[in-house]
């Protein structure tokens, strides 16, 4: 499944959604790539609905231990769970890295394909290609990605048909807007 490297050199469709006020902060993170305080890695298996959710509940537990604001914690829980389920339901499996910093968290999901044909379409509330098993498990309303977007301060999605899908989101612990600075 390592073939995705070659695919990556081509220009890949990307999608960005950043809450107003967070543009500068997030650009800075991308340019400077600061070392996370704590980094956690998890594998996510295809169609394994028993184990999926482990990464997001583990990350939630870590944030509780750090004393992160309960409302922010719930937003991280929602976004990470939706993203984790998407890897389980729509891809051949993948991995997630949670990078914990002292004032925000970044979670990066990367899977082994088959990619998303049309990202704009995938972002539409209600759009879903969920298979029968996913629907039986109660997923497939087409609300996962919009929900992730709603709960993050910044979100990045890149994918192409046949290649892997990468989803990254940024959530700050303080619910303030950075616009005022």
């Amino acid at each position: 499944m390592k073939g995705s490297e070659a695919v990556k050199s081509k220009s890949i469709p990307e999608y960005w959604a950043i809450k107003p006020g967070f543009e500068e902060e997030i650009k800075k993170i991308i340019n400077e790539r600061p070392e996370p305080e704590i980094s956690l890695d998890y594998e996510i298996a295809e169609n394994d609905y028993v184990k999926t959710g482990k990464a997001s509940s583990d990350v939630k537990f870590f944030l509780k231990k750090l004393g992160v604001n309960p409302e922010v914690l719930r937003r991280v829980a929602v976004a990470s769970y939706e993203a984790e389920i998407n890897v389980t339901a729509h891809s051949k499996g993948g991995k997630v890295t949670a990078n914990i910093y002292s004032d925000y968290i970044i979670m990066m999901f990367e899977d082994y394909g088959p990619g998303i044909a049309d990202i704009e379409q995938a972002m539409q509330p209600g759009f879903s290609t969920a298979n029968e098993l996913a629907r039986e498990m109660g997923f497939g309303a087409g609300l996962g990605l919009p929900n992730i977007k709603k709960n993050c301060d910044g979100m990045y999605l890149s994918s192409e048909p046949g290649g892997s899908t990468t989803l990254i989101f940024f959530i700050y612990y303080e619910e303030k807007s950075y616009a005022a600075k």
Binding site: I38, S56, P70, D103
Partner: protein, 430 residues
């Protein structure tokens, strides 16, 4: 004497620990849902902040070092007028040939002047909750708050869900208010002459009586365990049969002793409900609610005890047997009209409102997030050095918990015997 190291000024606990009886077996450590127990120097230590009086530990302790202590029956005699408020599970404890009317009569013979059933206000409570759901459209799901162990669980482990708890006093407290007023009015007694005692099926209800959360206005005077009076009641069968006093029972409201019935009764007019019982199931569901995964429900009934209150540790009868008796009682019951308007009016006037509950969070490693992160890094490093088999031999519930205890200077790395042995074998091999 109990070694009340779990009693502090801050927190009352009905689960008490007798240190001299403890053999340090760690059984309790493994089952505690809030990781409140450690074994150190061969004896258990219970963290009073984290203990929610669920009594899981009591049921696994092989030496009865952990017990539930409720009020003694004798304590009722210091009041001139005594009211018993009985939990719905009480009536399921007695076989048909004994008769639930005898079980009610028995309370008079034990020294009570009046007997009230929780069942009396089941209907009106459901109505109040339905109204609460309607006037709080932005809170979904609303979580039941009449199981005190669950309220404390949310305070300790799920503080983000505190606003979701139904902030209305429990049916038992509403009844206490009703009867206190009635007795003062009808009997011309003073407040302090009246003793109101709950007859309860679980440890957490004893705790709730002695240390209610929120701003309960009409305190009960004590809580007596069902198993404390059970054999006394049975022994009275003969005299009870000779006692011809009329007994009014609201048996058709007994349903809330059974898990699922509250949810079922509230689910009308498009209200979606769900019922969960058993502390570990509840924890799983609360975690899902935290991730906004059950927002489609208006109301979720949560019970610490499996099967609901009939499964409480202070009952005598097997929960399934008690449940089947209660179902029979409900089916054969007559409907009695009660003054529902009285309760609804008081509720609307805000009389049963409870102030926003505070977290009891002992989750964070440090108040300062930067320090917490530094500690968390240490926890991670240490966790990687531990075997990861969660054997609890060290006295901490899991390897992760031991790592945390070490960082918080409550344990040492050498407490892990498995690791020590591995190191020793490695040394011998070299």
């Amino acid at each position: 004497m109990p070694q009340n190291d779990i009693h502090t000024k801050e927190y009352f606990h009905s689960v008490v620990f007798y240190r001299e009886d403890c053999i340090g077996c760690t059984k309790c450590v493994r089952v505690c849902p809030t990781e409140a127990i450690r074994v150190r120097m061969g004896k258990a230590i219970i963290d009073p902040h984290r203990c929610i009086d669920c009594s899981k530990c009591v049921s696994v302790c092989p030496t009865e070092a952990l017990r539930v202590e409720a009020d003694k029956l004798e304590s009722i005699y210091s009041f001139k007028y005594r009211l018993a408020v009985i939990s719905a599970s009480y009536e399921g404890q007695f076989a048909e040939d004994f008769g639930f009317k005898n079980a009610l009569k028995a309370l008079y013979h034990l020294g009570f002047d009046e007997v009230a059933e929780q069942a009396m206000i089941t209907n009106i409570t459901a109505e109040i909750i339905r109204d609460y759901i309607k006037i709080h459209p932005n809170i979904r799901p609303i979580l039941s708050s009449n199981c005190p162990a669950i309220v404390r669980l949310v305070q300790v482990r799920f503080p983000s869900l505190l606003p979701n708890l139904l902030h209305i006093e429990s049916p038992m407290s509403m009844l206490a208010k009703y009867y206190r007023d009635k007795i003062i009015r009808e009997k011309g007694l003073k407040e302090e002459d009246i003793g109101i005692f709950l007859i309860v099926p679980s440890a957490s209800q004893v705790t709730a009586v002695h240390q209610p959360e929120g701003n309960y206005k009409h305190l009960h005077n004590g809580a007596i365990a069902i198993n404390e009076i059970y054999s006394k009641v049975l022994a009275m069968q003969k005299e009870l049969e000779e006692d011809t006093r009329p007994i009014v029972s609201y048996a058709n409201g007994l349903s809330w002793a059974l898990s699922g019935m509250e949810a079922e009764e509230i689910a009308t007019e498009g209200i979606e409900t769900l019922a969960i019982s058993g502390i570990h199931n509840v924890i799983e569901v609360l975690s899902n609610i935290e991730g906004h995964r059950l927002d489609q429900y208006h109301y979720i009934e949560l019970r610490n005890c499996e099967q609901g209150c009939v499964g409480g540790g202070l009952n005598i009868e097997n929960p399934f047997v008690a449940a089947s008796r209660i179902r029979k009682l409900i089916n054969n019951s007559e409907k009695i009209k009660i003054d529902n308007d009285y309760f609804f009016r008081l509720y609307k006037e805000g009389y049963f409102d409870v102030t926003q509950l505070e977290p009891r969070s002992m989750m964070e490693l440090d108040k300062d997030i930067k320090t917490a992160i530094t500690k968390m890094k240490r926890v991670k490093e240490i966790t990687d050095m531990l075997p990861g088999i969660d054997c609890a031999v060290c006295g901490s519930p899991t390897c992760k918990a031991l790592a945390e205890d070490i960082v918080l200077e409550k344990a040492e790395l050498s407490d892990c015997l498995i690791r020590l042995r591995k190191l020793r074998t490695k040394k011998n091999e070299e």
